[in-house]
Subunit: 136 residues, 4 copies
């Protein structure tokens, strides 16, 4: 398993009139988590796209355990629990300043060849970087 | 079961650089669907809030079957399959102009008393409007 | 002058914790106004892009006269006061249900050839449709 | 004058199908700049609101000089050029990684007493922190 933490400050733009982060805005946090997780591995997602591979989202599940409020400094924790093949699944936990896990998400992405618009498998460049974390 | 359709035109603001609607923006479509479904029943969500009941999202599942593209005129189809008690589950299908179902979502909301910040059951005003659709 | 009205219902996604539409979300309303104004003229913006012309925003001015609140049904009024040459200027007024003008915006867009990434003049197809409204 | 820099990484959520940051999303960057500028002064905007003062935007001007692209690490530079009275004007410059100023913004906010919904002057707590930067 390979886990990574990214801080996130909640902005006015994120919050609704209940005073909570709008439920659709968590997707942005998952995205930030995934991309910074990749960067930490040594991979820039923009280079993946430049090499002709897109990674659209296929499925997402979110659980809103407790609200996130304006100006809180959250921690986005991203985990990949299995070496990806045709799909990659990112588990996301969001923790608040009091050390409470307030949200969980699970996002499945596929690998798409931009040129042919067809599904493909995880690029070797990503697999190579990930493999050491999944060896016994 | 009570089903309702709402049209939605995809805007530039919704689309990412793949040319697809950004995965986090579907939550807005579900919201539009739910609120217009309620309005069609004769209930304005803002009146529900004014009466002291909030309806935060507890859980959401989304399946991205095919991309949605800029300027497409989508149909948001909202269904409630069970009479709500402590929770209400909205099923959402999104159809494109070619009559293809490109996305499904399932959103569970709870009822919260604003004053006490405690979970409550579905307000009678909503149940009364819904009940006739669930009688045999 | 050519003026056009588009209705817009404010969504939960649009509103901040003051209970007002977030100031950055008015840009979406201007966009909806511009694109529906073009569609009313017989031009689909997506066809303009398919023909190789992009219309990025160069300048924007917004005046927030009164707040817009959740679930209000606004009217977006779009006006073009001068026949475009190298630039097109859209004037936007936003009216609420009480008939009050709560917001004004002024957005200047340029015409860009996608292939060369260079500035160009307004496409003849748009000028032809607009010209009759500016004749004395 | 009091100037402050904040880094901002452009996200997929921010970018449109031209591959540029959507023009409405710059408002979020200004907001981040303003709030971090205040925090650097020793003021948390959430405490200002808790003390009963809201700061809604009254006017905004934006100039889009060059596009901002996905994954670029921008610098948001915030400046306040005059000691605020009834209004506070934030000047914003956005610089890209190549050291080019790609965008300028100018946002005017007012001070509103939440309880009475009436305009007021800049709270003394903010003036005290700012005053030393404007003395000769």
């Amino acid at each position: 398993m390979y886990s990574f933490d990214v801080p996130y400050r909640i902005r006015y733009a994120d919050v609704d009139q209940m005073g909570f982060m709008y439920y659709g805005n968590y997707a942005r946090l998952y995205e930030i988590g995934r991309v910074e997780w990749l960067r930490d591995l040594g991979i820039r997602y923009r280079d993946v796209e430049d090499a002709g591979i897109l990674m659209p989202v296929y499925e997402n599940r979110s659980r809103y355990l407790q609200p996130a409020r304006y100006d809180e400094l959250l921690t986005i924790r991203i985990m990949v629990r299995e070496l990806p093949k045709a799909r990659i699944v990112f588990h996301c936990e969001i923790w608040n300043e009091e050390g409470v896990c307030i949200h969980t998400g699970e996002t499945t992405l596929v690998f798409l060849k931009a040129e042919t618009n067809r599904i493909t498998t995880c690029p070797p460049a990503i697999l190579e970087k990930l493999a050491p974390f999944f060896e016994k």
